[in-house]
Each structure stands twice: as structure tokens, then as C-alpha cells.
């Protein structure tokens, strides 16, 4: 294990230990937004992400694939069956023997149980279903599963978080651990806790997944951008979920 990563282990443990304690040094990106953007997220009648939640609720009922089953056919009322699910992702998938995110899990259901085509990454349909599932965990604490099979992904994700990448030669940690709260251009750097995904990003004027945000950050530092659902991206998702363990989920959120 590279010495640089070892130095981060106490930080990660310290962050994990901050569960539910007053004086938790961890802050959501929500705290760094202006009052009007915060109001946009807080109010469901104003939050543009609710358009996707509504779309997801409709898709939940739509029969698909050779099975001619809808999500509701097996899972019934999502407000009950999906409660707490998004909080437990990424999870370890025994079928592929790898960590997977929520979007991938939804597509697994489509392919294996509905015998339908998977939904394209970042497609309106996938983001809609993901938003609808994610909102059922809103207000609950991020609860990464204590699954030892996730440990290799967690370790890889932690190393990648600390690794300098790209022509700008920056690591995630340099901005989001060491310089959060400071300004990069006109923007305040948040701590980078992925609590609000899928998120309506004002910069995109649309909805996007955590992977989209990670890929954008990587292209922002002029690094090579991994393909959708690449192992590096899922590893980072696993690490971020542990880094934010215990913090309150806000999905679907609004971010600048």
C-alpha cells in the first residue's frame, strides 16, 4: 500500500467516526450553495429534479420486456419496497462478482428479470427510475453495506481519490479534502460527498448521475475519462459512500 494512501486512512476513519455526532466536520454540498439554490432543492414544488421523479414513478408502472412485467409487478409500492435501498448502494453483486451502483442494479433487474433491454447510461429513463428509487431514501443516513467483499473496491477507490491525475495533475483529495470551502474560479469547493445523486445540476440544466459528475471532474483536470460503469468509477462510488457514511441523503438534489 503506497505510503500516501496510508496517511489518509486515519482521515477516513476520523470521517467515518463522525456519524451522527454534533460537530461532525463533514458538510454536504448543500451548505455551500446560495439560499436561492438551497430553496430550489428544499421545495418539491420548485425542484426541477421532481420532473424526473415523476417520470420514474410512471416508468415504475410500465410493463417492459419479454416478461411483460413492470417494476411494480415484483416490487409493488416503491415507497415501501425501495425505502432505504439507495442508501445501501453501491453494493456487492454476486452475479458479476463486483461492486455495482444503483443504476447498474436497476439495469440488472431489467435484463435478468424483465428480459428487457438495459436503459442507456444517463438516459432520461434510467435517471428517472434512479431518481424515483433514490428519493425513497431521502432523509436517511448513507449506509454503505459492511460487506467485506467490498473492501478491495473501497481500497482502490481510496487510492484513486488521493492520486494526482490529468494534465492539471490534481487529485480529488487536493480539492475536496484539503481545500474545501476555498474558491476555484467563482465557485466554492465543496467536500464532495455524493449525497444528492442523481442531481439536477444547474451547469447541465438537466439531471445526471454521480458517474457523470466524476467524469466531468476528470475531464476538468484534463485526465482521460473512463467509460460509463468502468471499475474506477464504481470504486470511487464505493469509497465516496463510505466517506459519507452516516450523512443524510438528499437525493434528488440540486447543485450549481
Amino acid at each position: 500500500m503506497p505510503p500516501r494512501f496510508l496517511a489518509l486512512v486515519p482521515l477516513v476513519l476520523l470521517l467515518c467516526a463522525g456519524i451522527g455526532r454534533a460537530g461532525d466536520p463533514r458538510k454536504s454540498g448543500f451548505d455551500f450553495m446560495s439560499p436561492s439554490t438551497q430553496a430550489m432543492q428544499r421545495d418539491d414544488t420548485q425542484n426541477p429534479a421532481m420532473l424526473w421523479v415523476g417520470g420514474g414513478a410512471a416508468l415504475w408502472q410500465r410493463k417492459a420486456g419479454r416478461s411483460n412485467q413492470s417494476c411494480a409487478s415484483c416490487h409493488g409500492d416503491a415507497t415501501a419496497s425501495m425505502r432505504g435501498v439507495a442508501a445501501r448502494f453501491p453494493a456487492f453483486d454476486p452475479h458479476t462478482n463486483a461492486a455495482i451502483g444503483l443504476g447498474q442494479r436497476i439495469n440488472q433487474c431489467r435484463v435478468r428479470h424483465q428480459q428487457a433491454e438495459p436503459l442507456a447510461p444517463e438516459s432520461e429513463e434510467l435517471l428517472s427510475v434512479e431518481s424515483y428509487v433514490a428519493v425513497q431514501s431521502r432523509g436517511m443516513p448513507q449506509a454503505p453495506p459492511p460487506d467485506p467483499r467490498l473492501t478491495p473496491a473501497l481500497a482502490r477507490g481510496g487510492r484513486l481519490f488521493a492520486q494526482r491525475i490529468g494534465q492539471l495533475n490534481l487529485s480529488c483529495a487536493q480539492c475536496h479534502d484539503a481545500n474545501w470551502g476555498r474558491r476555484l474560479g467563482g465557485s466554492t469547493i465543496p467536500q464532495g460527498h455524493a449525497l444528492a445523486y442523481p442531481v439536477y445540476r444547474l451547469e447541465w440544466q438537466g439531471m445526471g448521475s454521480l458517474q457523470r459528475r466524476l467524469r466531468n471532474c476528470m475531464s476538468g483536470v484534463r485526465a482521460q475519462v473512463p467509460r460509463w460503469n468502468a471499475q474506477e468509477l464504481v470504486d470511487l462510488e464505493v469509497y465516496l459512500a463510505t466517506r459519507a457514511k452516516g450523512m443524510t441523503l438528499e437525493a434528488p438534489g440540486v447543485r450549481p
Binding site: 446560495s34 439554490t37 430553496a39 474560479g185 467563482g186 444547474l202 450549481p256
Partner: protein, 155 residues
């Protein structure tokens, strides 16, 4: 005049010419403060709008210029004989100077409209209300817009 002076002079002329070229805007014609003034005049029929009795509420420093919440409020009893007929919003530096025109009337009950707009850069926003008696009210706000820190290629 030495040869070097002559060279210097002609180089300076060339640079001045180039400088003039650079001042010519490339791309779509933009709104300007003059164009915005003209658009406001067109809305008011060149009548002079008075200040007061109208507020344009917008953050002075926005998170992102792509989506800027604004609210316009006009003081009015909103009765059949005394109400706000329309509210127009203008900007001075986007490609287009007009943002929106809202048509109200006594049935609106309350002269307050909120929406979300785009702002290409830091600039002045102006709201003008046309009252049922033909008078106009105006309020402006200066907004600072910073670009997002990381310019991302759409991956």
C-alpha cells in the same frame, strides 16, 4: 526619421488596426445597454417609468448563470380599476435583450411572478410593470455571474 522609426510607426499602425478588428464582436449580436433602453422604450411607448412600487428580487451573486431565480413584485390592490396589466423583464448583455413578458390583470389577485432565467455574464436586469392606468414602474438589479470553475467537455 530613421528607418527604425518608420518601422515602428507602421508596426504601431498595424497593431492599432488589429486592435480595432479585435473590438468587432465575433458571434451573435449581443444586447447592449443601448438596446435594452430601446426595448424598454418600446414597451413603455417612450413614457417615463417611475421608480418605486416594484421590486425585482434576484441574488447579487449567483451560483450559476444557467439558472437564476428571479421574482418581480408590484404593489397593487389588483382591482378591476387599479391593477398590473403586464410585467416585462429585460437584460443588457445576453444575446437577446428580452427575457419575458407576463400578462396579468385583476384576476391575478397578486402582482407577483417568479421564474428562472439565464444570464450570460454579470449584468443589469430590469423589470418594468405596465399599470392599468397606463403608467409604468421600473426597478433594476445588478447581478454578478461567475463561470463554473471547471469547464467540462461533455463526456
Amino acid at each position: 526619421m530613421t528607418a527604425i522609426d518608420k518601422l515602428d510607426r507602421s508596426r504601431r499602425k498595424a497593431l492599432a488596426g488589429l486592435g480595432a478588428l479585435l473590438l468587432v464582436p465575433v458571434g451573435p449580436a449581443c444586447a447592449t445597454p443601448e438596446k435594452m433602453a430601446a426595448a424598454i422604450d418600446a414597451f413603455t411607448g417612450a413614457a417615463t417609468p417611475r421608480r418605486g412600487g416594484i421590486t425585482l428580487e434576484v441574488a447579487s451573486l449567483v451560483d450559476n448563470g444557467n439558472t437564476v431565480p428571479i421574482t418581480v413584485r408590484v404593489d397593487s390592490p389588483m382591482t378591476a380599476i387599479d391593477h398590473v396589466a403586464a410585467i416585462a423583464v429585460f437584460n443588457e448583455r445576453n444575446p437577446e435583450t428580452g427575457v419575458a413578458v407576463f400578462t396579468l390583470g385583476a384576476r391575478a389577485g397578486k402582482a407577483e411572478v417568479s421564474t428562472r432565467i439565464r444570464m450570460a455574464t454579470s449584468q443589469k436586469l430590469v423589470a418594468v410593470a405596465r399599470m392599468s392606468d397606463g403608467s409604468f414602474r421600473i426597478h433594476s438589479a445588478d447581478v454578478v455571474v461567475a463561470l463554473a470553475a471547471c469547464i467540462e467537455g461533455e463526456a
